[in-house]
Symmetry: C2
Subunit: 210 residues, 2 copies
DNA sequence: TCCTTTCTTTAGCGATCGATACAGAAACCA
DNA sequence: TGGTTTCTGTATCGATCGCTAAAGAAAGGA
């Protein structure tokens, strides 16, 4: 054995994550990263490989921490409708949480990429596609369970909710408050289709007076 | 008088616009710009000042050409509801028009900016805020005209539709088709509130059989 | 205590960034 | 045709980019 690393690798990774979250992949220089992480370039390269691998590790960490609420919400709620509503509400809260940068790293951190880092753009695109597919799966489950009419356009629904979430990320970075984004989430739920008529022909249960 | 410029300034500006549209402000280098515009750096600087002023001029050009449909739709439609629906439908078409890069330049071209070009980020943010305010104005008009209930949360509505449009831009850049984005636009319109009850207590006009 | 190993530091690598100095070329006026 | 002016092309500026060689510093084994 020999000398051990003098900095907290996890804390440094979290600092890098936040720098990427704030300014994106290309606009965050090694100099900015080392300043944020409190280390010098050789320590960064020894511990994380290079800038791209550091970014990928930061994204993985983001998914397991700040961004884990979406996976949880989609896994835990009993119906697609409830799952989508929870994702929307928790996005409104997370994107405006003053304890960290606004918006979503996976949505915003690799938007303006030169041709030499197109694969980084593609990496985040893959995560976004996976998230949209996870939403669609829950909506498809609602169709299969009879909670949504057969033939419901679940691709359009999933793309719609993905769009609202991505727009909420942009809005939060433009200064929208938590309260306004909750309003956005509630409005978005108006697009979730009503349940189909029951097989006995009776109307669905009403929750308001006729 | 003396020697005149040997290239088409407008065509060069359009080429620069598309380069910025594709990769964003910082990720588009002077070398990439001069290659796309078919000129050498001194010609670029003589005709456009510097990179920032070239970008600002490209954004102005974008607003007057590819992005002008929003201003037109919001100005020409008789009601807020129709204005919003037209903006959504035309956004779906424009963002997926294969004749130019996908999505919206004003939404995507200055997302990942370093601290030294934070003012460029702020410039586009201002345009986005103005667009959202223009949407809100048309919704406010619907409230004033009695087409929407008094007390309607027009800020939430405007932020919702701005979010959907921004999300559609991201989705188009991730590969969503025109047809799917039209579906997104139609779903978004479900959030536009129904008209308030008439003063005589009768229900609003129905367009479908009871 | 010395040796080995790995980390940290200083310093700087080649490449590219935005932006220009300079000279040659082209268009107008006289 | 000569003089003036402005544009164009070459070649390059200092600064910064991602990244690393080399030497000093610290921790474990002998």
């Amino acid at each position: 054995m020999a000398r051990q690393r003098a900095f907290d690798r996890d804390a440094a990774l979290e600092s890098a994550l936040r720098a990427f979250w704030e300014h994106g992949y290309e606009a965050t220089s090694i100099a900015a990263l080392t300043a944020a992480m409190g280390i010098r370039p050789p320590s960064l390269y020894a511990a994380f490989g290079d800038k791209r691998r550091l970014f990928e590790e930061a994204v993985r960490r983001y998914q397991l921490t700040h961004g884990a609420f979406t996976t949880r919400a989609l896994a835990e709620e009993p119906t697609g409708r409830q799952a989508v509503e929870r994702v929307l509400r928790e996005s409104a809260a997370e994107y405006t949480n003053a304890a960290h940068p606004p918006g979503c790293l996976i949505i915003t951190a690799a938007v303006n990429c030169g041709p030499e880092s197109a694969d980084v753009e593609e990496l985040l695109r893959g995560f976004r596609e996976a998230a949209k597919a996870a939403i669609r799966k829950r909506v498809d489950d609602d169709v299969a369970a009879g909670r949504l009419a057969p033939g419901t356009d679940t691709e359009a629904l999933a793309t719609f909710f993905a769009s609202v979430i991505q727009g909420m990320s942009t809005q939060s970075r433009d200064g929208a408050s938590h309260a306004v984004l909750v309003g956005v989430a509630e409005l978005a739920m108006a697009a979730y289709p009503p349940p189909p008529p029951r097989p006995d022909g009776r109307a669905a249960v009403r929750h308001t007076k006729p």
